[in-house]
Each structure stands twice: as C-alpha cells, then as structure tokens.
Amino acid sequence: MSLPFKNPEVFISAPIPPCQDDEYEELALGVANMGENFSKITINRPKVGDYDVKFQVKYCGICHTDIHLVCNEAARTMYPIVPGHELVGVVTGIGDKVTKVGVGSQVALGYYMDSCMECDMCDSSEENYCMKGDTHTFNAKKVHGHIGGNQETQTFGGFSKSMVVHERFIIKLPDNAPLAESAPLVCAGITMWDPLRYWGAIKGGKKMKVGIVGIGGVGTMGIKLAAALGHEVVAISRSAKKKDIAKEKGAHHYIDTSSTDSVKEHNNSMDLIMNTVSASHSIQTYLGLLRTNGTLVQLGAVVSPIDFKNIYLIMQRKSIAGSYVGGIKSTQECVDFCIAKNVYPDIEVVDASRLDEVYNTLASNSSSGVRYVLDIEASL
C-alpha cells in the first residue's frame, strides 16, 4: 500500500552524511525518499551536551500533520524524513547542567525542539511562537544553536529508539503516568488546550459555549478538555456519522452541518469554535454559529487559501484567528491537568507493520476519533 504523496516534482532529497565525532548512530523508521514506503533508516543524533536530555523513546503518537509532511503536501519535505512529534519515554542520560529531570524520569517531547530563547515570545514561554521561528522536531533546519551534531542535516523526529533535546523543551511526566496514552497530550492535547487558555476558557470562571469542528483525534481530545473544564461543548461535523463518538467523548450537542435545521438551532450562540479540520473546506457556517465578539480558531494545516466574507465578521464583531500548539509552560500545564483529571485521548497502539495503512486512513479523513500511537519498542 503506497503513501499518498503530493508534489512529486518539488522536494529535497539528500543522503544522511556520515556520523560525526559528536554524534552517535541510531535506528529509526522513516521514508527514505519521495514515493517510498516506511523502512528502517539509520540516523545520527548528537551526543549529550551540557543542557541535553537523552531519553529512550517508548511510544510516539501519530498525527495527521505527520502525514502532510511525509507526503510532501507543502512541497518542502526533506528526504529522508523521520516523522513523529508526540514522543514519550524514559531518561537514560543527562548533561552536567541539567536540572529539570534525572535518569529514569518519564518525559515527553512535542512539535518543537528548539527556539531562540531570547525574544519576547520565548521569554514569556511561548517558544512555539518564537520570533525567529521555532525549530520543529522533524524536517527542520537547525538554526538556533542549541541542538548538537551535524548542523547541516534536518531534525529527525520521534519514530526512533532515542532522542536528545535541550532540557528546556522536555515535558515532565509523573512516574506512574500511562506512557502510550500520554503521548498525544503534547500535540493533540496542547493544540486544543492553548487556544482554550488564550481565549479565556481555562481561568475566569465564565461558562462558555465551545464548538469543536472535526471529530478526529484532535477534535475528540478537545471535546474531552472543554467538557472537563466545565463548558458547554458542541461537536460539529459534516455528517451524522460522528454523533455517537462525539456524545460518548462528552459533547453536549452535535451539529451535522449538512442539515440546515441542525445548524439553525445553534446559530449566533458560540463564544469560541476550534476548527481542527485540515482539508480545504468552507468556514462560512462556523462564522454563523459564533455569537457577538466570538472567535473561530483555525488549527488545521490547510494549504490552499480560505475564503471568508467581510460582512460575516463586521456585523457582530467576530474574529478568525489561528493557533499552533502551545509554549512549554502551557504544555506542561495541559499535561498536568490531563493526568490529574484522567483526561486522555482514546488511542490505538500500532506497530511499524501498520504504518502505511494508518497513514492512508488519516489521509482519507476517515479517522474514528482514535489517536494512533506507534509502539517504538515493538517496532525497532
């Protein structure tokens, strides 16, 4: 079963250079070149530096964004690509100046693994919005100088036996946290948590009516979070198919946008709508669902331009905003909350033999609300 690649004429491909003295070789799972399937690849990781944490990766969550990048949808993929940005595991080594964790600690790592650490955004622990650009955990160039090893190669993600990262970007997990279930918290979880935080749904006490569009892995996580925070949650999908899943995850209402009656019932009522859909689609219906001063937060990695009419924003002072994961402080808060309140994604653990199949499932937008997690130990 091949992967659904795009833009076959525009991508970058370069062999991994030989292992340097300040690196070690590591086994990984990746796509070696455009058009190929997943295979075992040997990558190089930096040896532990003063501020680094090395951990054995036990599980790594699978996110639809991985598919977009592996399949070159934005025409900027660097092959070989080792995806995975929801890593969980156990610390096996720390640098001399590390204070955050010790050997044996359970840890997680999310979508970014470096930032400038100097700008206003980094100073307020919004490293994801670093003004010089955060460095993504895979398919990114090393520019800020806090990642060791060969500076010319791209970053390689969590589908690998070990990871080395500056302690700043490590998320701490309690010793008894269930590892596989915790993995998606550092992407799916924080992707929904941070906009809830920024748009006032975490502190403040006011009960909001929150809509969640797209009832996949991220959307169901959002339903659980918004419900656990005490808000009135409306699941929004383009058919009736996800109604049972949505209600089971805690949604109080369900809108099937293909039915005008279903939409009409909730027009002009929502304070905040979080839209997880990453395929091209119309947002007009969601703008209608917002109440005065409401915000539609766009989260999906949609590549083609999105239309909207000024009048839908002007008449009731509505906003369309974007959000992208969250800073380290916020991610830690999200993880702490979820573990304390027992709010976990519903996961399905898979091994490497199912990767191509899972990628195709996610690419066809037919996810059943489950978050897939790769069992690294079983796969490598």
Binding site: Y129, R317, K318, G322
Partner: protein, 387 residues
C-alpha cells in the same frame, strides 16, 4: 447616479399621516432610478423618551450612496421613497416628559443607530450596534415588531437626516460639546466612531503604551483614523496601494507610509504593527497586511465587500494572528469620540454643500471614493434655497 439591482427594489409610497404625525420637509429619491428632490415625509409627536431637534447639518456618507442606489444586494433591496442621512446634527426644540439627558437648546447629534432592543446583554454593555436582535439603522429600515422605541406609523420606513427635523429616543442621542462647530460634528458620528470603536475594543484608547497602528485606505474614514490614532499617542503607519496619498497621510499625522503593492515597502514594516484598521471597500489581497502585523496582532476589516476575501491558514496559525470585523460603535463610545475630538480639536476635512449639489456629490462618490473630504449637507441653507 447609477442604480443597481432594480428587481429587488421595494416601492412603499408614503401613506396619509396618522393623528400623531405632522409633515416635514426632506430630500430624497422617490423611486429606484430617480433623482434627488424635495419630498414631504411625516414624523411623529414627541413621546415620553423622545427628543425632537431642528436639523442644522447632515453628513453625507458613502453608505448613503449604497442605500440610495440600491447597491446592498447582499443585505436587502432599498425601500423607495428613500431619505438618507445618518450623521444628523441639530438643536433640541422639544423633549418628552421622561427625558433627562438633554434639554431644549442643546446641540445634539444622531448617528447610524435609530433604535435597538435595549434589553439584551450586548445593548446593556453599550454595544447597541451589535444588538442581538439587530439594531435599527437610522433610515431605509422598518420599525421592528420585536422591539420598537420609535413612534408614528409602524408600517412606514424610517427617514434619515436629510430633513428639517427628526425625533429620536434619548438613548440614541449624542451631546455635542459646547463650542464645537456644528458643521464638523456630523462625520464624527459615523466616520469618527467607525475608527474609534476598533481602536477602543483592541486596547488603543486606554493605554499608556505607544502602539504601532496601520490604517489601510486613506479616504474619509482612513484620514479620520490617522488623526485619532495619532492624537492617542500612537505611531501611525498609513497603508495605500500607491504613493499618491503620502503627503495627505503625513499631513494628517501618519509617521510611516507603506505602498502595499511594493514588497520592499511592505518589508520596512514587516512584523511591526500591533493593529491594522482596513477601511478599503474594494476587493484586494490581505497578505501584505498580515505580514506587517506583530505576533498576536489583529487585522480589522471594515469595508462591506461583497466578494469573498482570502487568507492562508499558516499566516494565522504560526503567529496567532486574528482577522476581525468591526461596525460603527455603540452610543457610549460615540459620545467618547465626540468629546475626544472636541478636546483635541480633531475635525474631519469637510465641504459644505446644498441639496442642489446632491446629484453631483453622489455621482462623484460613486465614480471615485478615494477622496479624503467628507461632504456635509447644509440643511438650513437648503431649506431657504427652496422656499
């Protein structure tokens, strides 16, 4: 003047007056495709909460052109006869028994809001323009069945400010400060509040911080916005599609100037603006404006453009940028901007005209809406000219 969409125009001839109504001289267009002429309309006697005022001036807004010429097919067809005007300025001649805000002899104004439900949380919050039931525009609207603070015949359309008198519920009346020249007050009730309201909502009217604020579109609204933002102590960057408005923008208080179609010019302000107010009413690309916003910045869209605008997701997601809309402003905010303008002597650039000039002015606004001048109809002069 060019009219549009004849098939959706609504004709509602003026019926005979009710007992509580009396004739008033006004200027309007009698039927779709017609010309401006003097008409007789009827207004109602003063009710308990009403304020009756003698009209001195009424500002002319491009929205008047959209209404008169039936250009708002997205919303609904206009009702003819139509008497436009939503920048009313005059002197109080009579007040109802329960009126407390103003007294006979006071100078007052009325803007775009003739009525709202006064009962929802949004009205309670002073945002009557966003009333959950929908506010009632000063003209070319009908009295509502679900709320109504307007007397007279409930079936007749509301008449705007191009008229001798008007009668409005005191809640929607703006006090004009003593000493403010009346002829400049009109455009503050529309252009002024349209620019003040987003400055207020997005934190620029009540802060010690010096913000960087972009204003797109250097016409009547834009120049008002430049003056207000500069008077509030902010660094104002005027943004236009060519170099032509540079001198005008600088003379009104803009420190910076960007030509949006020139990538090098846009690059000089890349990532530097906290807020951008976009007044442009024709379709255009938003990409250069989004690029000039700081992280967490907001682009406020104000032009009523029928065709869809575009943005790309990553532009918003990777820097938590917002695109919002804004529409005039509530009564309290309108009073604030009126008082602020008087205190800082911020006046729109105006040209006073008579009713005989209306055809010419409307045609000009239709052909070229880029001028920075706000036209103001001199009601007294027009009444005298036509006696």
């Amino acid at each position: 003047m060019k009219f549009s969409h004849p098939q959706i125009a609504v004709h509602k001839p003026i019926p005979a007056p009710q007992e509580d109504e009396y004739p008033v001289r006004a200027w309007g267009v009698e039927e779709h495709g017609g010309t401006f002429k003097e008409l007789t309309i009827y207004r109602h006697e003063v009710g308990d909460h009403d304020v009756k005022f003698d009209m001195e001036y009424c500002g002319i807004c491009h929205s008047d052109v959209h209404n008169v010429c039936n250009e708002m097919s997205e919303v609904r067809g206009s009702m003819y006869p139509i008497v436009p005007g939503h920048e009313l300025v005059g002197r109080v001649v009579e007040v109802g028994d329960k009126v407390t805000r103003v007294k006979v002899g006071d100078n007052i104004g009325v803007g775009c809001i003739r009525d709202s439900c006064l009962d929802c949380e949004v009205c309670d919050n002073g945002d009557e323009c966003y009333c959950l039931k929908g506010f009632t525009h000063t003209y070319n609207t009908l009295k509502r069945k679900d709320y109504c603070h307007i007397g007279g015949n409930p079936e007749v359309q509301n008449w705007g400010g191009y008229s001798e008198f008007d009668v409005v519920h005191e809640r929607f009346v703006i006090k004009i400060p003593n000493g403010m020249p009346l002829e400049v007050a009109g455009p503050i009730l529309c252009a002024g509040i349209t620019m003040w309201s987003p400055l207020n909502h997005w934190g620029a009217t009540n802060t010690d911080k010096k913000l960087s604020i972009g204003i797109v579109g250097i016409g009547g609204l834009g120049t008002m916005g430049i003056k207000l933002a500069a008077a509030l102590g902010h660094r104002v960057v005027a943004i236009s599609s060519s170099d032509k408005k540079r001198d005008l923008a600088k003379s009104r208080g803009a420190e910076g100037y960007v030509v949006s179609k020139d990538p090098d010019s846009v690059a000089t302000e890349r990532g530097k603006l906290d807020l951008i107010l976009n007044t442009v009413s024709a379709h255009h690309s938003l990409a250069p404006y989004i690029a000039m916003l700081k992280n967490d910045g907001t682009l406020v869209q104000m032009g009523c453009i029928a065709a869809p605008m575009q943005y790309t997701q990553m532009m918003l997601c990777l820097r938590r940028i917002s695109i919002a809309g804004s529409l005039i402003g509530g009564i309290q905010a309108t009073q604030e901007v009126m008082d602020f303008c008087h205190k800082k002597e911020i006046y729109p650039d105006i040209e006073v005209v008579g009713a005989g000039d209306l055809e010419r002015v409307y045609t000009e606004l239709q052909d070229n809406n880029s001028g920075a001048i706000r036209y103001v109809l001199d009601i007294k002069m027009s009444l005298a000219a036509n006696k």
